[in-house]
Subunit: 368 residues, 2 copies
């Protein structure tokens, strides 16, 4: 099974795929449950309850996605299909569907909107891989590698336009406003990240701004639109927004931590991508802040791109360990994960809420 | 004065700037007015009446554009401003404003929508220059050359999202549908063009499909939304759509013809861009269809990228002349230009209509 979290932004999802493998496989077996998870009573958090919860709805969403990525220009469905059919578990549309279920929504508007959310996400992934020059995503060759950057840029634009057409068909200006706003914030966050690239002096606040925009904004919007179609009071809209946003931040923090979790076996092959690309993620920011002398010089040089041999990464792993930078990145993730869970407090207990809580726990547990 | 037509798609607008110079300058002086223009009674068609017509409104649009391209991320206004402030004459928003004037619309909604139209256009230009690897636009260095492809892709995404935010603020689902639809068609046309690249066997129909999508769709939508905000009957909406669409096609045909109008002096520096990039524009399609033997082999090799020396371009110029391929490209342009003018037939005569008619004549006259 590949990753249910379609990592967004500059992260390499092939790594996420492995991360998921870890959570499910040998790493999960070693994990210190009572120490690390939010709810120690749950033996092994899983995304499965959420997947089960929305199976029927997701089939409808997939039908919308398939029909609306078609075009008379064959390259469009070919390229879009490579990514859309390519192993992602539709985390964002799943959040829309689970949120609708939480609210006992019985209509069908969320199917179209969940597809729109997935199109926005897919468009962003296509552009991200061009921006990063990535050649692997979810363990497969990227679209830009196969069809070139021009095709990826333009098919991304097409999917983005198509997502707005889907929203217009839904007919809610409120939904349009939420998703147009999220799209602008995502793009702003991507530019922010670009200008922070290779800067060891990126403050934690700026890093949080970036992941809040590039990852959490769409998680938040995906959840929030469910409250709009279900015509629920603003307090519930905001609660779902908060759930999605905090889950998104927690997810990204864990993803960034995983890059510095070394393993001699299969895992090592994907860990270190962020390091080699000079990304000032939180583990680096914390390790740098807690270092002195030669170590500081090492981090600066590494993020500027002058330390990308295997032994450099080994030293980085050692430094994030001794400074507890990964531990504290994960502590931050647990903080946001707890906030996500608490945001659900106003909703009635039940299967949907349980599944949404467990999804947060799962997002965090996959780091261990 | 730089070009009032911000050429879209794969055309190099630096060439357009010169083309405009030609129409205004020595070429215009040589032009055979009675033969070439749609209305021989007008000595020298100009865009000036349309510019004058909308001056006050355009100041409002510029204020919206300036305020809405701002962001806390400094690179965004910096990069967007380079292109937006950089010599374009805002042809598409001008069409929205002129159309609103034609309908005697007295509100202010069109200011925001004209800005949205310009943002869509600017986003497309940024992505086009990345796709084409262009280094000059409107005689200036392109954003991708200065800030790199990643920044251009992401700021394009930002402007595109911002344009939808502007439309959402306007609050008309109908307008949103028109512009979201146009955006999807533009992207589809760009992908279509990409897959037709370097193919000498591109049929005229496919070429017309491409320019109808990548250039004419936004011209049409820019005009049409004016009828929506002015709450006019569908017949007027469709008439304005038709005006914009046919003007857009005529404009692009002329632009593609200009690439094969050689001049030993200043002009030669920009003519030939399409040829060297292997673009199967209509002059090439017609010349190829009318050639035999070695000339066909030459065209095929040229479009596939194996004939890009100056003497090859000289031969191409000679072939499009002897086959009358440029003449007939311009004849096609006049056909669409005439249709644009006839689409205005249902509207009352007056300054606005005169200016819109003269804009069509101007678009065509700039080729001579």
């Amino acid at each position: 099974m590949s990753s249910p979290y379609c990592g967004h932004g500059r992260t390499h999802a092939s790594r996420e795929t492995l991360a998921f493998g870890r959570a499910r496989g040998h790493i999960a077996a070693h994990m210190s449950a009572t120490l690390l998870r939010l709810d120690p009573s749950r033996a092994q958090p899983s995304l499965e309850p959420m997947v089960q919860l929305v199976t029927g709805d997701m089939n409808m969403v997939n039908a919308v996605i398939l029909s609306r990525m078609q075009s008379e220009i064959p390259l469009i469905p070919e390229l879009a299909g490579h990514l859309i059919a390519g192993g992602g578990k539709r985390m964002r549309p799943m959040l829309t569907l689970a949120s609708a279920r939480l609210l006992s929504y019985t209509g069908t508007r969320h199917h179209r909107l969940a597809a729109a959310v997935e199109f926005i996400h897919t468009a962003t992934l296509l552009h991200d891989d061009v921006v990063d020059g990535s050649d692997l995503r979810r363990g497969k060759r990227t679209a830009n590698l196969i069809w070139g950057n021009p095709a990826s840029v333009l098919v991304g634009d097409f999917l983005f336009s198509r997502s707005f057409e889907l929203m217009v068909e839904d007919g809610s200006l409120k939904v349009l406003g939420i998703l147009a706003g999220a799209s602008a914030i995502i793009a702003e966050g991507e530019v922010n990240q670009l200008t922070a690239a290779r800067r060891i002096d990126t403050p934690e606040e700026r890093y949080l701004d970036i992941i809040g925009a590039k990852t959490a904004a769409l998680f938040a919007a995906a959840c929030r639109v469910a409250a709009v179609v279900a015509e629920r009071p603003e307090a519930e809209e905001l609660a779902l927004d908060s759930y999605g946003r905090n889950l998104g931040i927690a997810f990204q923090l864990v993803d960034d931590a995983i890059d510095y979790v070394s393993d001699a076996g299969t895992m090592g092959k994907d860990a270190g991508d962020d390091f080699r690309e000079g990304k000032a993620t939180l583990p680096v920011i914390l390790a740098y802040a807690r270092s002195t002398g030669d170590d500081r010089i090492f981090w600066k040089a590494a993020i500027e791109g002058h330390r990308n041999r295997d032994e450099d990464f080994a030293r980085a792993i050692e430094l994030v360990r001794t400074t507890r930078a990964v531990d504290d990145t994960l502590a931050r993730a647990r903080h946001y994960g707890q906030r996500a869970i608490d945001a659900l407090g106003i909703f009635a207990n039940g299967k949907a809420k349980d599944a949404m809580i467990e999804a947060v726990e799962f997002a965090i547990a996959r780091a261990y």
